[in-house]
Amino acid sequence: MPDYGHDLKFGSFITPGNASPQEVVALAQESEAAGLDLVTFQDHPYQSAFLDTWTLLSYVAAKTERVHLSGNVINLPLRPPAVLARAAAGLDLLSGGRFELGLGAGGFWDAIAAMGGRRLSPGQAVDALSEAIDIIRGLWDADNRSLFRVDGTYYRVDGAKRGPAPAHDIGIWLGAYKPRMLRLIGAKADGWLPSLPYMKSLDELAAANATIDAAATEAGRDPSAVRRLINIGGRLGGPRSDRLLTGPPEQWAEQLAALTLEYGFSGYIVMADDPGTIRAFGQEVAPRVRELVAQERGGVPGNAR
């Protein structure tokens, strides 16, 4: 099919380095000023060169006004889901509904274990993530008066008080590549957030979308309930080329519009730490993509859920 018809979102992926923290904050503010919709930070709590992502997200949320924020993606093994749920809801409330939960199962198990975290096999990590999503959604369900219990293999909640509820429906977006994770997205998540440099080909994107769609349908969900976002890198500027995302803003816009119309993506997050690229992405690429996609869809932009 694809083109699931979602409105388009554009974001930045800023390295959360701790050598000069205010420069990181300034890049987030630059993203907002450039008209981007989303600012994201990777989360590797075992990485000593980075700021703690949760702390940074909270701090940056308070230093911005309009832009949404997400981890890209939050490291579940070192962030227990019950704490994470409450923190996410709190940040969403504080920011007036600007927080989204990009979440990952974890991958660098040596580093996780070095920090005192639990080492899981890839399969176990998917199951743990599935349990975590249940816990997070259960704790956000503040109107539910029933006692909240989850007796999972990896996480347990024993009669915790639910709440607070977030200010808006926080999207749970999973960073994923393998079939089991993709099926989990179809079954339970609100979004898929891979990185383009990790994909071997565009065909792989199509195949993954199909896996997600099938799992969604099986779970009784509309495939369009799952937003497809993607981290992108490349060279923005310079002469046109026949390579993906290597050229001027016009070329980026055409290629991203094609990714929307042919591969169903509706969120583009540019991996860049220089203000020039962030500005050009927000001011020159994003409006052109919106225009091109609106033309093809033949209607007004933003007709989706």
Partner: protein, 752 residues
């Protein structure tokens, strides 16, 4: 005895985070800052907003107040440590941590018979070790911890927080003694004990409970914690005593009197008022806190904690550091040490880093350092090669806080710059005026070291050396006094500062006359350097023939096995016209087969832009430097042999000449005015590089001091031919006869 063991009296608020409306808690925190409270903290409540998230948000919405976060027994201490350090870095040092048993010590059996309580205390004790271990970023080894409750298998350490984050151990006093394990934990591993009586109906009872909890009377827990501190090898004055207090009604005088009694009885130095009521917050701040501050006296002599003192080096009298410098000084046990110990190219472990914020403080730093029998190094940006700017066990005077950049006269393009500014900052500050100042080829370099020696930058052929733009300086001399020098006043000193300045004092401000500049052409070319000699010769000829608006440099690295040797040419054309840029670059690009290139037109400030990274150099750079008038066939061939020999892994030639050669050799202490080229080689071994380089000396005509690490006295004659050297030695004898400033390219007062 003073009331709080020498600690200044502080007041804080303890707020509830609120569930679905956390914005109210944020507003109260901001009110607390406005009312002059020192500290804000949030309780952890079921279904309440996560306190760490709330505190991080509040950190961004406040500017002065300190932020105390709780760490409970369930927290992952490694993640918590990194989060706390991150927030401390974001807030420039406003974070404190409260270690809490989350009420476990409130359970029955507090005498220690209850294993569960002991278990929780044990967990917290291990958490403290892990937290301090993560913060100890100056240890290069990863953190391994094999505890009963926490296990770390080689975690990365760092980041170090911005300041020494204090750790408070929270404990709830009740009838009977405090949990002895908690008391020992606070005394042995933390920075203080925080008494948190539950707020009962009767506020006076709460105060009594707190007072009982800390009474230093013989046999009381206050005396116990003193004893426990001493048993742990600590000075009891290292430990703060904090207490939570409840709001009360009635006359303010009564409240003051009762709290004063509590403060005196318990040796308290921090009170946290637990209320969300803005009226009470205001009343306490306006009617109670000032009276308590006035009554508690001003005698203060804070003791650094044993966790800092145990890392001190011999030979430095740390307690004698001048009071104005002490708050910003960094010693090896301090949190910020990892960020200041080393430089860009050199690993160091100084015993003390002084960070003066004014010229007067710089003078005090010099006077203090002279009384200490250890090495003294001066640092501006920390890129020094001959200006070593770090040491082992000595003192560093770090000028990074003297980094102001101001415009003095728009019409004359006159600016004043501090030595601690970086050239990227200078470029960014001048750009809005349409100005630029040629400096070096890298924006991360600091102003002080470069602007006292030369400055061979991207406009050197068009506008000359950086020192050629210098119109006046202010210096701190070896006796700590301050002088001004320019063409009229102290003219000989001003002459010497321009080429050998680091020898005579610390320049605390530079006045420059800068140039106009627009966008420039910035090119990076990769060329085949297989025929190294031909490349050098052709590039050299092209540069000598080029108009002055072109400046470029050439780097040849070490050949990689199985790959052709490549050369990297960087060039700046002072023009935004594409045709001009291409015309200028063509002869340079023709020096050797072109493998790759990029050409951009961009503001000069973008050429100079670099992030403010942390320096973490290791080891000791081995370099040789030289100036040459021409890249003759003989020099080019000899340099090619050097590159092929493997004795240099980084060989760079920068174009000079042009406007730099318009200045007479005796006009400044930088004498090498005839040179069209400046050369530097970095080598893997001192002996190997020296042997190879010494064979080239007859090709050279002087040297640029900033890239030279050879300490043999002949180098002084290379850099400063007579009569320059004679004049410099006379200046040295006059201004620094004891050679205080010698950890640089050193002009000795007399011939050695």
């Amino acid at each position: 005895m003073s009331t709080g063991y020498g600690h200044p009296l502080r007041f804080g608020v303890l707020l509830t985070p609120g569930g679905s409306e956390p914005e109210a808690a944020v507003e109260r925190a901001r009110l607390a800052e406005e009312l002059g409270y020192d500290l804000v903290s949030f309780l952890d409540e079921p279904a309440g907003t996560d306190p760490w998230t709330l505190l991080s948000w509040v950190a961004a919405r406040t500017s002065r107040v300190r932020l105390a976060a709780g760490v409970g027994p369930e927290a992952d201490p490694a993640v918590a440590a990194r989060a706390a350090a991150s927030l401390d870095l974001l807030t420039d040092g406003r974070v404190e941590l409260v270690l809490s048993t989350d009420g476990a010590d409130r359970a029955d059996g507090v005498d220690g018979a209850d294993g569960r309580v002991g278990d929780v205390v044990g967990r917290l004790g291990e958490a403290v070790d892990v937290i301090r271990g993560i913060w100890a970023a100056h240890h290069r080894s990863p953190l391994t911890f094999d505890g009963e409750h926490h296990r770390l298998e080689g975690a990365e350490r760092g980041p170090a927080p911005a300041h020494n984050i204090p750790l408070w151990v929270a404990a709830e006093p009740r009838p009977g003694p405090l949990h002895p394990g908690l008391l020992r934990l606070a005394a042995a591993k933390a920075d203080g004990l925080f008494l948190t009586p539950e707020a009962p109906e009767d506020p006076e009872a709460a105060i009594d409970a707190a007072a009982d909890g800390l009474s230093p009377a013989p046999g009381g827990p206050g005396a116990e914690i003193d004893a426990a501190a001493e048993a742990a090898g600590r000075d009891p004055r290292e430990l703060r005593r904090l207490a939570r207090i409840a709001p009360r009604s009635g006359p303010a005088e009564e409240w003051v009197a009762d709290l004063l009694a509590l403060i005196r009885a318990g040796g308290l130095s921090t009170l946290l008022l637990a209320t969300d009521d803005p009226g009470i917050l205001r009343r306490f701040a306006e009617e109670v806190a000032p009276a308590l501050r006035a009554a508690s006296g001003a005698e203060r002599s804070q003791v650094k904690s044993v966790f800092v003192r145990r890392h001190r080096r011999d030979g430095i009298d740390y307690d004698a550091v001048p009071a104005a410098l002490a708050p910003t000084a960094v010693e090896p046990g301090d949190a910020g040490y990892a960020r200041v110990r080393s430089t860009y190219l050199r690993g160091g472990s100084p015993g003390l880093v002084l960070r003066p914020g004014t010229p007067g403080e710089a003078g005090q730093a010099v006077v203090f350092a002279r009384t200490q029998p250890v090495k003294l190094s001066i640092r501006s940006g920390g890129h020094g090669i001959s200006g070593r700017s770090t040491n082992n066990g000595g003192i560093v005077i770090d000028l990074s806080r003297l980094n102001a950049i101001e415009v003095l006269d728009k019409a004359a393009r006159r600016v004043r710059v501090g030595p601690g500014a970086r050239w990227s900052d200078v470029a960014a500050a001048l750009a809005p005026h349409g100005w630029a100042l040629s400096s070096g080829d890298y924006g991360g370099v600091g102003v002080g070291g470069l602007a006292t020696s030369g400055g061979i930058g991207w406009f050197v052929r068009e506008h000359g050396l950086t020192i050629d733009h210098l119109r006046a300086v202010d210096l701190v001399l070896a006796d700590g006094s301050q002088v001004h020098a320019d063409e009229e006043e102290n003219a000989e000193l001003f002459w010497g500062v321009r080429g050998a300045g680091a020898n005579f004092g610390i320049v605390t401000s530079f006045e420059f006359e800068v140039d106009e500049a627009g966008d420039v052409g910035f090119a990076q070319l990769v060329v085949d350097a297989s025929d190294t000699a031909a490349l050098l010769e052709r590039w050299g000829a092209a540069m000598e023939a080029a108009p002055r608006d072109l400046t470029s440099s050439l780097i040849v690295g070490r050949a990689q096995l199985g790959q052709p040797l490549i050369g990297q040419i960087m060039a700046v054309v002072d023009s935004d016209d594409a045709e001009t840029i291409v015309n200028r670059l063509q002869p340079v690009a023709a020096a050797a087969p072109l493998l790759d290139y990029s050409i951009q037109v961009l503001p000069y400030e973008e050429v100079m832009r670099v992030g403010h990274g942390q320096h973490d150099g290791q080891g000791e750079p081995v370099t040789r430097a030289a100036l040459a008038d021409h890249l003759t066939p003989e020099l080019s061939a000899a340099a090619a042999r050097l590159v092929a020999s493997g004795q240099t892994y980084f060989f760079q030639i920068r174009a000079v000449g042009g406007a730099a050669s318009d200045v007479a050799p005796d006009a400044t202490a930088y004498a090498g005015r005839s040179a069209n080229f400046q050369l530097v080689a970095f080598g893997p071994s001192r002996r190997g590089l020296d042997a190879a380089w010494d064979g080239l000396l007859h090709h050279f005509n002087g040297l640029y001091i900033n890239f030279e690490t050879d300490l043999r006295p002949e180098r002084l004659h290379d850099a400063y031919p007579e009569p320059t050297l004679r004049r410099l030695r006379a200046l040295k004898r006059r201004y620094d006869p004891d050679n205080v400033f010698r950890d640089n390219f050193n002009v000795t007062p007399t011939e050695p």
